[in-house]
């Protein structure tokens, strides 16, 4: 006879087994639901701080959508933001810290090209996927490594090769370039000069400006008088000074047509007093800041999620203008990660190599809420994504989209095959 007080040996064993199972169950469930940790190398301070703030907001908005929809492969996702002070040396340390201390599965989010150049080698040594949102040609040029990819934004070379034919056909053929004197500016100098020559145009002067410069009037006398188009691409906190001083310099006198990369005006209100002389001038935009009349069906949802109004400013403060032409890259990179992790059956850091291979296998990224800037094509060999570019004109103080390019216009021959490199 068995009773509650005197259980048989079998009942005791059964009970103990069930108890052990019950204890172990939460651990098993917990392991499945452990969050995926994405390290974000953020320009929270330093000259990239305006971009950093919006990169953080955009990535956080995408993260919320991804988690609300069930996370990645059923696991919740976390982003660990770490400030790199927009400094290359600190950048490498941040990659280290995010990977080794915070235990992130991968690292993403860097914009400034000198920080990318400083950080990518460390990511390669740690064998951690490093997904940059930087525009630089450094990924597709083959200068980096198998662990570094740029899946969220097109590179300067592609951008320029689509802009040069338009500039030559619509604005003029004698161009003077003003650009920052480091990697990003040099990409512009080299590719635009070449692309312009192919269009029968000519770059007649190249004016390189040190990245920490705060006053620009002294450089303007170097602009030759016969210049038809002034091509400007400036970055950093002094961009507004640059455009204002340019306006003062030309004043009411004759002036060349202006073509700029919106980097010269990111986070700056185009209706700022002193910028009137930009009226009628053209800008490249990665993603039109002012919502175009023919915007895609997901544009409104994307703006609402990030908290940006139809003019590209924060919904809570109309003076807080976003870095709209670039920040979509963090959103799209997060969805690219989701896509690749689910394809690779990613379970943890041991699968990092498998993850990079899955990323390299991705080709088409169709337009949708996952890719609100437009459809894209990823090149697994060069680790670079290709997409549409936009040209906007300042009309009544607002950037109005006037031209869009196709993906094919921005393609160029592969300069590297990362898939042939070892991990």
């Amino acid at each position: 006879m068995t009773n509650f007080l005197m259980p048989s040996r079998r009942a005791l064993l059964k009970g103990a087994g069930a108890g052990l199972l019950a204890l172990a169950l939460p651990a098993v469930v917990g392991a499945q639901a452990a969050p995926i940790k994405i390290g974000f190398q953020l320009h929270r301070t330093g000259i990239g701080a305006s971009y950093g703030r919006w990169y953080e907001r955009t990535a956080t908005a995408a993260l919320k959508l991804i988690n609300d929809a069930g996370g990645i492969a059923g696991r919740p996702v976390e982003i660990v933001f770490e400030d790199d002070a927009t400094d290359p040396k600190r950048g490498a340390e941040v990659v280290d810290k995010l990977t080794q201390q915070a235990g992130c599965d991968l690292v993403m989010g860097t914009l400034f090209s000198h920080v990318v150049m400083g950080s990518a080698p460390r990511a390669g040594e740690l064998k951690v996927p490093y997904l940059v949102c930087s525009e630089g040609y450094h990924v597709a040029s083959g200068a980096l490594n198998r662990w570094t990819l740029q899946p969220g934004i097109t590179d300067v070379r592609a951008q320029i090769s689509t802009m040069a034919p338009w500039v030559a056909a619509n604005l003029g053929k004698k161009v003077t370039m003003v650009f920052p004197d480091y990697a990003f500016g040099h990409d512009h100098r080299d590719f635009f000069t070449k692309a312009m020559a192919e269009q029968g145009g000519e770059v007649i002067a190249q004016i390189a400006i040190p990245p920490t410069e705060t006053s620009f009037t002294r450089y303007f006398p170097q602009i030759p008088a016969e210049t038809e188009v002034l091509y400007h691409v400036m970055v950093g906190p002094a961009v507004l000074t640059f455009v204002k001083e340019l306006g003062e310099f030309y004043g009411t006198g004759a002036k060349p047509a202006l073509f700029g990369f919106v980097d010269s005006l990111e986070a700056v209100d185009t209706a700022t007093p002193g910028l009137e002389f930009l009226e009628g001038s053209h800008f490249w935009e990665g993603h039109p800041r002012v919502k175009p009349a023919d915007a895609g069906e997901h544009e409104a949802a994307y703006r609402a999620a990030v908290g940006v109004d139809d003019n590209g400013a924060s919904v809570s403060d109309a003076k807080d203008v976003s870095t709209y032409a670039h920040m979509f890259s963090t959103w799209e990179t997060l969805y690219f990660i989701k896509n690749a992790m689910e394809a690779a059956g990613y379970t943890g850091p041991a699968d990092r190599q498998k993850l990079v291979e899955a990323m390299e296998a991705i080709t088409d990224l169709p337009y949708g809420l996952e890719h609100p800037q437009g459809a894209k094509r990823f090149n697994g060999k060069t680790h670079q994504v290709f997409g549409s570019q936009y040209i906007s004109q300042i009309q009544s103080g607002k950037l109005i989209k006037v031209h869009a390019t196709t993906i094919d216009e921005g393609l160029y021959p592969d300069a590297v095959d990362y898939t042939a490199m070892s991990f």
């Binding site: 701080a49 305006s50 002294r218 906190p237 961009v239 000074t241 310099f249 004043g251 700056v268």
Partner: protein
């Protein structure tokens, strides 16, 4: 562009640099002269002036000149008050020990800079110039406001000179500069003189910041360059000598304008730093400084 207009533009740019520099550096020089304190946070007072000007002009309704006029008064006063507070809370407690105050002002530098980042943000924000005047020469256009900055700096510097040489406050400050113990023996409240001097120095930096902000925008990292250039000017001119500071600011400002236009801005910085090295080697007290006992 022909040589003549090119040189004219270079000189005008140089003059603007010189004017702002003279204002900022005179504050640094005053603080060192009277208090023997090397104020590393001086550039941050400059930045605060610009940032506060942005806040003030945003709050004052009405025409741009009125908002700017309010900023010119409010920003330097606010910064001076902050400096007086820093003096009472930090410098005084360190007994104005030269080494300790350097470290303390480095700390102050970071606190002010990060506070600006937290409360003001990372963007460069514009402040409208009090008037919109552009001078159109046959070769190039030039901002009328920049010339106003030169004039305003001249007026303020004349005021400082009058304050130091023609008023009782100036007399007391000069007495403290010569020998603080003897000054104290004569009944001068040295603590109050120090607090006033530190506030005045910071206020001058802030005023320079307010004047420059319609040209370059307010940004939380803008204090770095003026600090470096102010030190260069003060070392060349002679620490504690207002006349030396003015002459050195003109030399550095104009040479910076001309050299960076005709050659490169980097060369201008190299030459300025080289000049500092030469002065330190051959005339350590500066061009107009007196050898300290």
């Amino acid at each position: 562009m022909a040589f003549g207009p090119f040189l004219l533009l270079a000189l005008m740019e140089g003059l603007v640099t010189a004017a702002v520099l003279a204002l900022a550096a005179s504050g640094l020089s005053l603080v060192f002269g009277v208090m023997r304190v090397v104020n590393v946070a001086h550039g941050e007072f400059f930045m605060l002036g610009a940032v506060i000007a942005w806040f003030v002009t945003g709050m004052v309704p009405g025409p741009a000149w009125l908002a700017f006029a309010v900023a010119v008064v409010v920003a330097p006063l606010a910064v001076a008050a902050l400096a007086a507070l820093a003096d009472a809370l930090v410098l005084k407690r360190l007994n104005y020990d030269p080494e300790a105050t350097i470290v303390a002002t480095i700390g102050l530098l970071y606190m002010l800079q990060q506070a600006a980042l937290t409360f003001y943000g990372p963007d460069a924000r514009p402040v409208a110039a009090p008037f919109d005047l552009r001078l159109q020469t046959p070769w190039f256009g030039y901002s009328g406001y920049k010339l106003f900055v030169v004039l305003a700096a001249g007026v303020v510097l004349a005021g400082i000179w009058a304050l130091m040489t023609r008023t009782k406050a100036g007399l007391v400050m000069r007495a403290t500069q010569v020998d603080r113990d003897v000054a104290r023996a004569f009944g001068i409240n040295v603590d109050r003189v120090y607090m006033g001097t530190f506030a005045l120095g910071a206020g001058l930096a802030a005023l320079a910041g307010v004047l420059i902000v319609p040209i370059t925008q307010a940004h939380y990292l803008m204090g770095g360059d003026p600090l470096l250039l102010s030190f260069i000017v003060v070392i060349i001119g002679g620490l504690g000598s207002l006349r030396g500071t003015l002459v050195a600011a003109l030399v550095i400002g104009l040479s910076d304008g001309v050299i960076s236009m005709f050659f490169s801005p980097t060369l201008a910085k190299i030459l300025a730093t080289l000049l500092v090295a030469m002065v330190l080697v051959f005339r350590p007290q500066g061009l107009f400084g007196t050898r300290s006992p």
